[in-house]
Subunit: 118 residues, 2 copies
Amino acid sequence: MAMTPAQALKLWHDVALSRVLADGPDLSERQIAILLSIYLDPPPHTVRGLAARLNVTKPVITRALDTMGAEGLVTRKRDPADRRNVIIQRTVKGALFVDELADLILEKSAPARAGAPS
Amino acid sequence: MAMTPAQALKLWHDVALSRVLADGPDLSERQIAILLSIYLDPPPHTVRGLAARLNVTKPVITRALDTMGAEGLVTRKRDPADRRNVIIQRTVKGALFVDELADLILEKSAPARAGAPS
DNA sequence: TCATTTTGTTTCGCGGCCGAAACGGCGCAG
DNA sequence: CTGCGCCGTTTCGGCCGCGAAACAAAATGA
């Protein structure tokens, strides 16, 4: 997985452009970082943990979870062991969104392959 | 330049995370797309052209240029030939920003190389 | 029991971005 | 010269995210 600076920039541009053109939920860069942390890092995920990981305040995480929760990308659940904690959980829709993002990146990194997937 | 879906997502996550942690100007995804279009597509660039390319309204471009212009990433100049047009020009600072983004992507795509570049 | 700490949420004031529409400057055809 | 169309900007009302601080609920320890 080697690439030139020009290739890297073109990849970033193409993906950003596709995401702007698409009419899906337009998440900020922070929200993207939060969402991918949830889906890539091993659980459990808490508000406090995510805030520390991104070096942002807790309300930022709460608001992002509100927005993405309304989109159905994540879910919140009280921790039964310590009811102060909130466990952030993945959803089918969120996993689908992440998969589509991965597909988009791969598509833009390997342009003009023959058989376009459905 | 081949990668697995997991690698693609990790790359996107790491770059987004680095950009969130960094204290540089935090641009929206639209602004990133506009900036990279300016720096990757051949000039000249006009408000109308960028609006059509991103399929957004013209005020979106004007506002993005206001913001990025205040950051010194782009400049506007009247077209002397047709004074209705505005030519968007690149700046040294903008080129530097784009280069740093490319470096970041490359760094995150080739993790843990031995000699870290200065 | 009760004060203290921890966790996540909410409130507050502020600023930025949004789309639609109105606006002013400019070119062009007649 | 004059009316019409194009280009970019500005205005309008509204929505969303921000950080700091106040807040409610739950656990902890004496």
